[in-house]
Symmetry: C2
Subunit: 483 residues, 2 copies
């Protein structure tokens, strides 16, 4: 079944693509998803690459228990009492604006029938950290998380999702800040070099900051519909968590001191970013570095003996490509026609397709098709396996360049509110002056749905006036309507 067109219904296109490319599906439980084998194999590649980066920067993995329903504990009232003191308990699933305009409050009508308790990582750290010898503590975990979400969307917002969460503790403030920035760089480098996704590094405004953080760093990307997507965050926690959970260490020179914390995470949301940044009306477009299958070879034949000859040639290619570390599939399964296979592999985003038929065999050629540009070219079959490594690099680079060009073309320096609104309607990033107040930020959001995605790290100071209030401003910040 053909996909809806992005230009006609972006949202339907996304949903259908996720389903038809066999990435994920809704489970019978509201808001939960099944990550299907093909989708999971892409997530596994992301995981493997990130995990290697975490380990190279000195981190180790661990596993903390999932929160559990509080009712499990209700028979041990005394224990609960001690426990509840040091645990975040989820009791409600919605916030609302306070009636007196004083900000945001818990919506009392949205009480969970049963409270949930969040993984008590910092309460564990209290036992793990006694002295400077125990620092830095550099721990990561890969886990599933359950969050109450009212409106769900495969990969982008699901009740349960998979993520990694790093939680580190340090002896000094500077060391913790360096860690926070290092992990932001790890994420940005991964996004650009593996996901082929250009990102803007920045810090969040106080209003958008993670509760409990002193500073929230983030990477922001632009999707093809002009909406922004936050692709990862890294938080400098100061001594906030250490103080809340009484995590102190004995200094080498004597005396006790609270530790300095960081936390950082990315989730299966990156799958959504990957899909929405690169894919087209024919289906998924995968950067070669994330493609579980990088090259597929499809034989075209009528007679058995034609297939036998093609098999022989293809098996040599498979062997040669694997020796170069390229993941390749030779699909001579006769359950499906070549036409079906072409469409299916296109839908699944396989970067390079090789087709070979009896005429190619006669001429010593093969047909090479790249998924990103959908170009086809006929090549000398003896050159095929030598061409492919460079072609894969070129495709990786091209997907990135295309996304970067799209972002550049969709990023506007705006100086007035009407210009700003225009950008928010057509989609894209707006670099605009802002007076620095939460009040202005909130009003812009109410009027335009746009939020400040970040204050870019590479911003330069310039005098200007806030697009909304007209008050003076020293730098432009990055606005967009976001997922």
């Amino acid at each position: 079944m053909a996909l809806p067109k992005r230009s006609e219904d972006y949202s339907a296109w996304y949903n259908e693509l996720v389903k038809q490319a066999d990435l994920a599906e809704n489970s019978s439980v509201r808001g939960c998803m099944v990550i299907k084998p093909y989708g999971f194999s892409i997530w596994e590649k992301m995981q493997a690459d990130l995990d290697r980066r975490f380990k190279e920067t000195g981190h180790v993995n661990a596993y903390f228990p999932l929160f559990i329903p509080k009712s499990f504990l209700s028979k041990e009232a005394q224990h609960v009492e001690g426990f509840a003191k040091e645990c975040a308990v989820v009791t409600h699933y919605r916030l609302k604006n306070a009636e007196d305009g004083s900000g945001v409050v818990v919506d009392p009508t949205a009480k969970l029938e049963e409270e949930l308790i969040v993984r008590p990582i910092w309460s564990t750290y209290k036992n793990w950290i006694q002295s400077y010898r125990d620092l830095p503590l550099l721990v990561n975990q890969w886990a599933n998380v359950v969050r109450w979400e009212m409106r769900t969307r495969l990969f982008l917002r699901t009740t349960e999702f998979l993520w990694q969460e790093g939680h580190t503790a340090h002896a000094t403030k500077q060391e913790a800040i360096t860690e926070t920035e290092q992990m932001l760089d790890v994420y940005a480098d991964f996004a650009e070099n593996i996901l082929a996704l250009p990102v803007i590094k920045g810090i969040k405004t106080a209003n958008e900051r993670f509760a409990g953080a002193v500073e929230t760093y983030c990477i922001e990307a632009l999707m093809q519909d002009g909406k922004a997507l936050q692709a990862g965050t890294s938080h400098f926690l100061g001594q906030n968590f250490a103080k809340a959970f009484e995590v102190k260490y004995a200094k080498k020179e004597g005396g006790l001191e609270y530790v300095w914390g960081t936390s950082w995470g990315v989730s299966t949301r990156l799958m959504g970013a990957l899909i929405m940044a690169h894919s087209d009306d024919q289906g998924l477009v995968l950067p070669p570095r994330l493609a579980p299958i990088q090259v597929v070879i499809i034989p075209i034949y009528k007679k058995e003996e034609e297939l036998t000859a093609i098999d022989e040639k293809a098996n040599v290619w498979v062997k040669e490509l694997r020796a170069k570390g390229i993941s390749v599939k030779y699909d001579n399964d006769d359950k499906y026609t070549p036409g079906y296979k072409f469409a299916d592999y296109e839908l699944r985003g396989i970067p390079v397709r090789v087709a070979i038929g009896p005429r190619d065999m006669q001429n010593g050629t093969a047909e090479l098709a790249r998924r990103d540009t959908r170009e086809k070219l006929t090549v000398d079959s003896s050159q095929l396996t030598a061409l492919i490594p460079n072609l894969l690099d070129e495709i990786q680079q091209n997907i990135y360049s295309k996304a970067l060009k799209f972002r550049e073309d969709s990023t506007y320096k705006v100086n007035t509110l009407p210009e700003f609104k225009e950008v928010m309607i057509k989609g894209g990033f707006a670099l605009a002056h802002w007076d620095g107040s939460t009040e202005t930020e909130e009003r812009i959001k109410t009027e335009t749905k746009a939020t400040i995605r970040c204050i870019p790290l590479d911003t330069t100071e310039e005098d200007g006036i806030c697009i909304y209030s007209g008050k003076p401003s020293k730098k432009r910040v990055l606005f967009a309507v976001a997922y």
Copy 2:
């Protein structure tokens, strides 16, 4: 702090070892555990090896949502109704013997305050399988599971644990049986070659079989206290799940047919097996193939210039060993004394320790200590890195041989009930004749706590009489008191 001795208090030894070797700890939530970084790094090695084996046998990974508390759904009564029909709902956490002696019934006093719903994998398969083209479906997932457990023990029995669960669907009965047996072989080979754990392959009696399975295959191992531990299971499901969830496929030759299913799994329980099979009163003993650090090098020095000279030599060794694919740590951290480090690495089970001091530097020697036998030998330092690969192989082999010898010495062919009871008291496997009835099996369990671990696959037929009932029997089965 010294560990309790195995001979004095095996259970306290196990608990302390898990804690002191930094493998895991109880979380503040009853029955749940935190898997600490060192323990997790061993689990990661198990995972990586098993995952490679699963993929080599054609399986792919996926992710199914965790069960969720049923109360989450209670607002959508109609949906729940449809859903509940196809879902296992956990409502109770204990079974008991029926008062009329008719078997086992649910204990009505053990009702969960809130029902849990089990991952609905087979209900998903209904949508994934339409035709013979979709078969075989070979899916695995790595996930966390929550199970209500009354008595918990780190790794062996916890409310939440990590596992993998394979769920496959096939066109024919024979193919499903072959898959079941193949995965049993994968587990057995992994246990013997990686965990260095000798296992007995067999099938469960009807009484011990997984509910819903036609046949349950298992691998059984013996711990140092003479108790058995089930290390993995592989189930042939027949068409039971297919029928329960209406999973049919269109055959190539026409017509609809129910698929044939298998499922198979191992869990973090393997960490418990690993610890209890090999470790000693000094701490963990790790088979080199699972050791996150295989070799540790410790400098012994008084003066800075001594350290400088040792550093230089050690760094060459590190480089040479890494080039051979060996994971090595040079610990010249001055926060701890060499004596502390020796004890700590012994506790953590590092297979090979190298110590080098000023006298060794003069003599061109180094001290090599192996963890399994605790032997030390002085070697020519120029030979050190050449010796280590063979030494690691020898240690891996020796740990296996020692466990195998222990099992052989602790396995008894018994022909009478008094002999049988004696074995069950001192600990070990008993190979005994059994009349094949569940009644006898249950009575033996009540009187001796022993269960039939399995009917070994390699058993040979022989005429005998049941040790309990005196009725005729055709083969011996394997009994033990089990974890």
